[in-house]
Structure formats: C-alpha cells, structure tokens
C-alpha cells in the first residue's frame, strides 16, 4: 500500500507492508520495521521498534487525524497519491478563498479585535475567547478582509463554532505558510 503522510510540515510518500503483528514502512529511502499490538481505550498501539517499546495513539478530533505519543499530540494527514494531487490544487486556492476562525473549545466570546471591513494580516489576533477562567486570543492564519462576524460578544460558543469570516486579500508571499 502507498500513502502520502504529512506531519509537522513534513510531507512523505510512504510504502506500507504488514504481516501478522509486523509492519514495514519505507519512507525517504529508509525502512522502518515494527512489531505492533493493539491496546484498549481507543486506537492505541504498543510498538516494538528494534526492541524499543512505545505506546502510540491515533485519534480524530473534528475530522483532524492526530497522533499522540509521550504526552505530545500533533496533527497528521494521510492521503493516497491521487488525493495528494487534488489537495495540492485546493491548497493553492485555499489561501485565495479566505478562511473562517472557529472556537477551538467551548467558551464565551469576550471581544473581537477586528470589525467587518478590517484588513487582517497573517497571525493577527482577531478575537478573544474565554474558556476555563482564562482569556485566549485566536489568530488568523492567512489573514484577509473581515466579511462577517458570526457570534455576538459575551455569547457562549461551542467547540468548532465559526466566529469570523475573512475574504482573501493579496498578501506578500512571505506571509504564506511555510507548512503544507
């Protein structure tokens, strides 16, 4: 089997083979071999890689695949080669079509730092959400022009609820994401 896997800004083509409790993957020319065994409480595996013991977990949070190990969790994307191509296309246009800022967790909208019509630069703080007795700034990634404010200030919002819509505006390439 073949997959494209992207994690931490690294985009790799992975050749995959498995047999009983053993799995081999080839990536960037090197081969990784692991003895794997499922564990309870979700999609969790015990891996033995050259005898080294690891516990790893895969989970999907709001459609985002994540891998957790040793207390670190980071997003992973798995695609087959064709999707990879499509992805490339949509990605290219992605920045051009704008973005939506959503609440990453349940909370209360404290204040918007921008209003419709404002120009937002990448990484700019656009809204403050209070959750668990702490205030947290959410930032825009691509930036653009604010088109819509989707939740009122002081409103309670659910995880994943859209707060703000941005329309793309021309950006210097420097501002484009390094990742992807």
């Amino acid at each position: 089997m073949k997959f494209w896997i992207s994690l931490e800004g690294r985009d790799a083509e992975v050749e995959f083979r498995s047999e009983a409790d053993k799995v081999w993957i080839e990536v960037d020319g090197k081969t990784l071999e692991a003895d794997f065994h499922p564990l309870p409480d979700g999609e969790v595996y015990s891996l033995l890689v050259n005898g080294h013991s690891h516990e790893v977990r895969v989970s999907t949070v709001r459609d985002q695949l994540e891998v957790s190990l040793r207390g670190i969790t980071f997003p992973v994307e798995v695609r087959n080669p064709i999707e990879k191509v499509l992805k490339g296309l949509t990605r290219a246009s992605g920045a051009g079509t704008g973005e939506t800022i959503v609440a990453p967790m349940p909370g209360v909208v404290v204040a918007y730092r921008v209003k419709p019509g404002d120009l937002v630069v990448p990484g700019q703080a656009v809204v403050v959400v209070e959750a668990m007795k702490m205030q947290n700034e959410l930032m825009a990634r691509h930036g653009g022009v604010v088109t819509e404010v989707l939740a009122a200030e002081r409103a309670s919002v659910a995880a994943g609820q859209p707060l703000l819509k941005l329309k793309a505006a021309p950006m210097p390439d420097a501002a484009k994401p390094a990742v992807a």
Partner: protein, 501 residues
Amino acid sequence: MARLRRVLIANRGEIAVRVIRTLREMDITSIAVFSEPDRTALHVLMADEAYPIGAGPSRDSYLNLDRVIETAKRVRADAIHPGYGFFAENEAFARACAAAGIVFIGPRPETIAALGDKLAARSAARAAGLPLVPGSEGPVESLDEAKVLGREIGFPLMLKAVAGGGGKGMRIVGSETELEAAWSLTRGESQAAFGDDRVFIERAIQRPRHIEAQILADSSGRVVCLGERECSVQRRHQKLLEETPSPALDPAQRASLGEAACRIAAHVGYLNAGTVEFIADERGEYYFLEVNTRLQVEHPVTEMVTGIDLVREQILIAEGESLLGGGDPPAPRGWSMEARIIAEDPAMNFMPSAGRIERVRLPQGPGVRNDAGIYRGYEVPVFYDSLLSKLVVWGADREQARRRLLRALDEFVLEGVRNNIAFHRWLAAHPEFAAGRLSTRFLDEHFQSSMLAPGAEALDLALITAALHARGESQRVALPNAPGDVRSAWRWADRSSGRSR
C-alpha cells in the same frame, strides 16, 4: 469543642477528593456538593454522600453562598471544609457558617478580612517586624506622590492595586516617564476589575523567587511553621511546579523565614492552616508578600517531607485540639516536588483545554503520590479551572526527587485532553532547573514552545502509526479539504499562534 461527625466539602475536583480521603481516615462522614455537569465527577463518586447545588457556572453552584449554606444545614453537616478557591478566603462565607451554627474549617472571619486587604496585611507584617519590599506605606494618593516615591525607591518599580492579587492588577514601571501612563492605566483597570482604584508602590525585584512558609495555629494561640515551599516556576502568575525545601535558602535563612511567618501569624491571632508568602531576591533576602488564609494547592509537598496530614490537622484544630497533638514539628526528611498536571495545549500557547479523558494511567510506585480529580471517561467541564491532577514525588535528596519526577512523567499516560506533561518533562530535565536556579521569570528566560516539538524518533513513530491507521481504514480516508475549509483553517491558525510564541 465536640468531635466533628459530618463534614461538607464546599469544593470540587482534586481538592475535594483530597479532603474526602482524610475525612474517611478519620471516620467522619464526607459530604460532597456538585453542580449539574459534575454529577459524575470523582468527588461525587468518592464521597459518602453527595447533593446537587445548581447549574454549571460557579456563581450558580459552588459560589452560590445561600445554596451551599442551605444544603449544609439541610443535610446536618456540622462543619464545612472550603478547600482552596471558591469560598476559601471569603469572609462573608465564614460568617454565614458561624451564623448557621456550622464550623468553618479555617481562620476566623476577621482574620480572613484583615489579611485579604493587601495594605492591612502589609501593616500587620510591618508591625510584626517582617521585612517588606521597599515601597509606599499605604495607597499612593497622587501621581506626584508616586514620582517622589519612585525617586526614593528607585526604578523599576511595581504599581499594585490594593484590591489586586494572583498577579492581577500589577504593572512594572521602568522609568519616571513610563510612570505617568502606567499610573492612570493601573488605577483604571483596578477600578474596573475590583471596584477600587487605590494603588500602592513597591520596588520591582528583578529575578524574584517565590518562597512561602506553611504555618499551623491552634485555638490555644500556639503557632508552628512546617517549613517552606518554593513556587518560583510560574506561567501567567500560575504556579506550575513547587518543591520543598527551597534550594535558595541556607539553614539560617530558612529558620529566620519560618520565624517571620510565625510572628505575623501570632500577631494577627491566626487560627488553623495558612501560608505566608515571600519573595526572595538573588541575594536570598526575603520580603513579605501576603498571607493565604487557606490550604494551598501545593500543600502535599510539605506532607511528603514531614509526614503530617495537613487536612487532618485542620480538622483537629477546628475541633479545638492542640496542633500536632501538642508535639513539636518533626524534622523534615528528604525532598519533595509537585508538578501540576493541567488541561492546556502547549501547541496553542497553553490555552486551557477540555474534553473527555480517553485513556489514563497514572504513574505509581516508590515515592509517587497522585492527587487526581479525573478518571477514564471523565468529561473535563469547561466551567472550572483546568487542574486535572497533581503529581507529587519524594526523594531522599533533590536530585532523586527530580529524577523520580522525570520517571513518573515518562510513565504518565493521559490522553483525550491536551495537557502539560511534556512541558513538565522539559522543565524537570532542564539544567538550570536541575541546578535549582529558579525565578518567576524562569519560563521567560528559558522556554519556547518549539522546545516541545516532537523529535525525529517521534516523527518516525507517528509515520508508522498513521500508516497503521490508514491500513485499518484505507477506505475511510478523509476527502481533500474544501476551499476555506473551517476545520483546517482554525487548526492552522492555532498552530501558528502556538508556534509564534
């Protein structure tokens, strides 16, 4: 006073569980109260009895004074333990207990009031002969007065709201020119936040260490100090890791700090357990900061080295017994550290996190103590603070304690909610931490979240894991994102915000 038979815990989470444990060991009925989202919280499962007190938001339940008192009366509680936070340092609550004929397990209401006022506390400390950070005697009336003080004390200095605390309502001022803007800003914020615009001035200490003394006082007026705790490692004025003893103090300084703590406690006629907070400068000079009239989050490290159960002492003192059974404090043994395990996302600038505990395996074995408020399948509610568990270790010396902490963090499995275990691993492994060179600026000086990025081995493991997952459901691979796709938008936004700090 009579023996207590039924004690209600006006709190939740790990501290409620902590108190329940000691009550059970003392054969006292433990009574929990819970908000709607806390129906299956650990303190409800573990208490002998549990009663609902309202909706999720604290003001509707845990901070609903009438409801809590009414419940305590209805279920015939003869005492209330407030834990920390919520009503722990609330004079009105302590008075309401007294009015209802219920023992409040803590200091007298007037003591809570007196020490809650920063200026009153400062003058009490001054009267008791405790060293104070050079600063204004009382509230500063005018900007001009502030400037004069500024020249006397020297810059940088601290503008502090009289009603402030926990890091709120304070501002560092580097020069006389900065003073003008800071003056009105701080007073405005203070007015807005606390309905009190009085501010005072203190010399700013460059790389302060936070060191606090644990005291016990009983109704006979006897006061003892059970040693100090250093809590210098903080983020946004939130303590992250505490230890005892403090690596900063030599025996003479330790003794003098302990005596100072007892002096102010005796001076105000303190009762029950309390903590006298100091800041120490780089020369080891310490200055009085404030008194916390409650059990501290970090009290377990003191228990680990002294063998004393502080909650038990609180209850016996509330029953009118003499503290430590009339005996002297035992000589502390070894070293203890506590790492606060918090639901927060290191990749999102440590923003608090909530959700379901999908998998948990607490560290165990020699020298490890967990004070947890969670269990597998528990939904961490969004209404309350994000402390999930306290990992406490003991070692014969600081290095054994530190290595044991690292070991325990290594075996700690906690999944489903983002948390700071990896951060603590970074901290405990840091050479400056290992050397005991701490200050409240430790993270500013040493930490960047990129330091928690997964290493090469982790990435290889993640590749294998992702491949195993894909193999499992190659048919269910997600379709490419739609343009302007919501989910990916916020994820990228958050990740960049996290990385950008």
